[in-house]
Symmetry: C2
Subunit: 238 residues, 2 copies
DNA sequence: ACTCGCCTCATGGTCCGACCAAAATGGACT
DNA sequence: AGTCCATTTTGGTCGGACCATGAGGCGAGT
């Protein structure tokens, strides 16, 4: 049994995100929610505060009103991914676009300001991607680890915060699909080698170009995983 | 007189951000904070919940402990900028790096998936940047407006959320130095014309290259504004 | 002297009932 | 139909209380 105020908050967030309450509409009053959730008003208030802090509603004397989704905090991404059984593929793709580009930015920062040891440690993370005989899970893990560590090595706090937020909200919601991922090991290995060379030579254009290709491959892999996952869902439904 | 729980939250956030309470340490208990702020425990709890939601502390039975800064939410950026009278220049530069790159990503999305009308509306926003006789404030405003609208036109929700968060936290804290900004109008006008051409021809490489130059100019402008602002501070101190 | 396990106490989570100021609402009056 | 005002509703705060759990200290055993 998790914390009650969080249960209430999750229910409210779900309702807002599924447009049960639309932008501009009033949310139920705290006292109404007390009866609906059979909880104390303090718990309801903490839930409302959480919803408000996520930027999903403006709560002020007279009532709480739902905000436009575009005005929310980045932290809602996780909730959006978790709304349906299977995350929205287009949203996942959008996240990948952002992540891939931020990784590229971070890598640029490392190449420009990072120490040789930092670059060396990142190159070490490429090794698992060159091996084509490891398990799929290990390969997925290696890719995540690479991107995460590049972000952390960037010494750019906003970058790190965005990356951590996206990764943390992404990972748990994508696990349902991850099993269907069939990474093109040969291409990943190729890009890993190219990245290794670019890092060694501090060749910025080459690195960015390789990252672009790497990003495209990531998106293709995820798109294919989604197709397989949906086929699996249909098979279950029959 | 703002809301009490927010006052408490702001004070706690300030203390955490200025390392009065360091990572791993315990935060004062809710009952201690009640006496310290002369507030009700409910208000203190809501403040603690806010701090926790910002990812600055983990609050669980037994006590609340401060988290590593890297584990915070992106929403702390605004508080970080507002800690001192003058924002941290290096943090501002980091934000600019991220924003500039995300704008570039967003523009790419628009060029790839956007309608001709969307592109046209963005091109209209370039006009003010080509005029070299407008006021500095108008020019600053025009740049902000351009970047914001590109982000919004991207149809990429995570991108929009990040952009809005960064812009909203950035703008109010940067106004103190905004007055010192002396944009290189000629260069901005040149890039605006180049962007206009690239958008018209849907020339992706040209657009990205121009955005890179645009980004560099933005950083230079901000760095110069900081130098002037600091000189102004010293003059006051004397 | 050290370690391990227990027991107490402090802490967070929840509940109840109450009051206040501000906003929303509805009706009376023009 | 439009305007103004009194009522009601709503969020914000307060005080006190209870419970389950984790923290921390104390003592028994080695």
């Amino acid at each position: 049994m998790s914390i009650k105020s969080d249960q209430i908050a999750d229910a409210l967030i779900h309702d807002v995100l599924t447009a049960r309450y639309r932008a501009g509409e009033r949310l139920p009053s705290e006292r109404d929610l007390v009866t609906r959730f059979d909880a104390n008003r303090g718990a309801v208030r903490e839930a409302m505060a959480k919803v408000a802090q996520l930027g999903l509603a403006d709560v002020l004397p007279g009532g709480a009103r739902v905000r436009e989704r575009e005005l929310a905090s980045l932290d809602v991404i996780g909730y959006l991914l978790a709304q349906q059984e299977l995350p929205d593929p287009s949203l996942v793709d959008q996240i990948l676009v952002v992540i891939n580009n931020l990784v590229s930015v971070a890598a640029t920062q490392v190449l420009e300001h990072g120490s040789d040891e930092t670059i060396k440690s990142l190159r070490d993370l490429l090794t698992p991607l060159m091996q084509q005989d490891s398990s799929t899970d290990a390969h997925n893990e290696a890719r995540f680890s690479l991107m995460k560590n590049i972000m952390l090595a960037s010494n750019n706090l906003p970058l790190q915060l965005i990356a951590r937020t996206l990764f943390e909200q992404f990972a748990p919601n994508i696990s349902a699909i991850g099993g269907h991922a069939l990474p093109d090991r040969a291409r990943y290995a190729l890009y890993a080698r190219q990245l290794d060379i670019a890092l060694t030579n501090k060749d910025l254009p080459a690195m960015r170009a390789t990252f672009d290709a790497f990003a495209e491959l990531n998106r293709e892999t995820m798109a294919r995983a989604f197709m397989l996952a949906e086929r699996g869902q249909e098979a279950i439904a029959q």
